[in-house]
Symmetry: C2
Subunit: 394 residues, 2 copies
């Protein structure tokens, strides 16, 4: 075995969130619900048939023109005004976020995140060797007062200022919280005042079970400080790997030039164009939202029945539920016992940029149906009882 | 317009190689020949039909198991021994190369390349802010003597040693040269002696018109110093965006963890599995090779007729032809006049990591048919005459 000197960013090893324990009920991943994966046979046949010369060839660096136009139309219904020059097609919003980091962040730079935040975003940021400036959440979402206090202190101490803020303001991953309009406005003000870029990751906004939508942060941006990251992974199919970044044209062009592989997958892009043009995507989102609501309800009921000790804030949309166990409980051990029982969940610690509390769990209700959700939470309840009796015996 | 501080790597701007002048005969890009784009209607229909639960879902981080097994079988015929744990599926070999850079290179590190080398690889390396250690080529390919001299001098001066070597040893892009077996062995010896990693980019090896194959550098590697980068872009279709890296398992795992977007496109991966399992890929390569040979022949004949001033070494395979104009000729101006005439070629300078000679052109014969090749070179000949008479008049 050869001993190479690896780059500092490559010190990040450990378990990938994409690897699952086989044969378990999987609540650890926000994967798509298999029975509702869209039927794209017609679209795919057309793409590789009559449209083969486009679908099988290199795509333009920015993505297919038709797709960029459709994305503009799609986000216009959320109040985001964008022209094709503002849209870069990527492999899902994760790779769009990586491109933004490549453009704005040097190793050691500070990035603002919530604590907890999206675990894979933490992984991606770690590959850029960032420092985290972590900010709390309350029922109104992102705590802009805490951010302002911390920014003022950094400036007063002449410390390096943060370059970028990452957040999931709608149905936050993992906490499910939606940030209020007032807070969003304040986030944009602070971004302008302290000159950092906001990456608004917005995969779940259309999966809303109840209540009124809040305008995207990007729709409040008049100075180019916000980049909106979108994807079809959570509203159509993750396997398509089609996402986008929307921002000021100069920023988008810089992000495009950081792409290592040119114009992404023309084939999948054409399928998404067709699904958007035919409005199939809108009907699919409606069906999916109804389905995810029944999943959430099943999970809430199962918690009440099998694990009432957990404190849960019912999510109003999205794919995830955040469970807080009584203080002092060891979520990591409970998750291990869960795998023994046949259910896989994520410990909350994975979602913290630093050393978070040890008593939280993140549960996805997206991938499995109601019955499995009930059985899985029952297993988790059994794991919890086993943990408690072992703790009493010790 | 806001004034952000961008990361240093984002200073790379300028024209993308994916943007083409509209309405011209394109010889500037190694895109696929449209009439030979493979018919994958059956494979695509199966992937999004019966296999939808896999194709539309997140793929495993390393890629589909079936594909990694097929890739092992595919490269075994080249003498490369690999197990699935040695194979990472990526979006083409470009993104595989980017992952290798993420693992091995810090900003300012030295990377060994030929002068000239693959223009997009230069772009990708620049986004990592590397320094280039450039090495010449002769008829036997990579000049290992020059490399050894330079390595010895760096060591003697206690300068930082290079971390990585990038090369296209088969039908080199842009020069078309294939590096000899003796030189390949020497490259591996030097990699071991000076402890750098060789990234062997191998997209063209199967597009051989005449002569005997030379074993891949990876097949000569017993110590894990070589990473083989492969892709179906040049042998099936660029639009699939399926490539791979093959290397020592520990390196491959590190590269996987640098992926921002998880397990790539399951859909396209399944199509490639099917094309490999059915051996359709082998038949396709045979057909494609025959076609590319006629393209090369047409281009050579057209040069002899319309631009005999250019010095050309007939490529024995691959997609590209390297033309050296008489010393002092301004290839950039000739290329501009070419666009006016209706043909687009790449100036040789784009393929040099530093400031290369100004009298070379890179021409791809992959994308267009024989007739367009003949017409395009005739236009280039006209552009050359115009350049010469303007030069005489000045």
């Amino acid at each position: 075995m050869t001993d190479f000197r690896y780059a500092r960013r490559s010190a990040i090893l450990g378990k990938s969130v994409f690897d699952h324990a086989p044969g378990t009920i999987t609540m650890s991943s926000g994967a798509a619900y298999p029975p509702l994966l869209p039927d794209v046979v017609r679209e795919a046949t057309e793409a590789v048939g009559p449209l083969r010369a486009e679908a099988m060839q290199y795509a333009p660096l920015m993505g297919l023109d038709d797709l960029r136009s459709e994305i503009c139309r799609f986000v216009a219904t959320d109040g985001i005004e964008a022209k094709p020059e503002n849209v870069l097609v990527t492999y899902g919003s994760k790779s769009a976020f990586d491109l933004a980091l490549r453009v704005f962040v040097e190793p050691g730079d500070r990035v603002i995140v919530t604590r907890p935040t999206y675990m894979t975003a933490i992984h991606i940021m770690r590959t850029h060797n960032v420092q985290f400036l972590d900010i709390g959440q309350d029922a109104e979402g992102f705590d802009t007062d805490e951010l302002e206090r911390k920014l003022m202190r950094l400036r007063a101490n002449a410390e390096p200022m943060p370059r970028l803020l990452f957040d999931v303001p709608d149905f936050h991953n993992p906490t499910g919280i939606t940030t209020s309009l007032a807070r969003r406005k304040r986030m944009v003000e602070l971004a302008r005042q302290y000159n950092f870029v906001i990456c608004e990751d917005d995969p779940y906004r259309r999966i809303r079970f109840e209540g009124e939508s809040v305008p995207p942060i990007k729709s409040l941006d008049t100075t180019g400080h916000v980049i909106s990251l979108g994807t079809v992974s959570k509203i159509l199919a993750p396997g398509l790997r089609v996402g986008w970044a929307i921002g000021e044209a100069g920023i988008i062009r810089r992000m495009a030039l950081q792409k290592a592989d040119g114009g992404s997958n023309a084939f999948a892009q054409r399928i998404v164009v067709q699904l958007m043009q035919s409005n199939k995507i809108v009907h699919h989102v409606d069906e999916l939202t109804a389905q995810m609501r029944t999943h959430r309800d099943a999970m809430l009921e199962a918690f009440a029945e099998h694990l009432p000790e957990a404190r849960i804030r019912a999510p109003l949309g999205g794919y995830f539920l955040w469970a807080e166990l009584p203080e002092g409980d060891d979520a990591e051990r409970i998750a291990e016992l869960g795998v023994e029982e046949g259910v896989e969940v994520s410990t909350g610690r994975l979602s913290f940029p630093g050393d978070g509390p040890g008593n939280c769990l993140r549960l996805a209700y997206s991938f499995i149906g109601e019955d499995e959700i009930r059985r899985g939470i029952a297993m988790l309840g059994t794991a919890y009882r086993r943990y408690k009796s072992a703790a009493r015996a010790a």
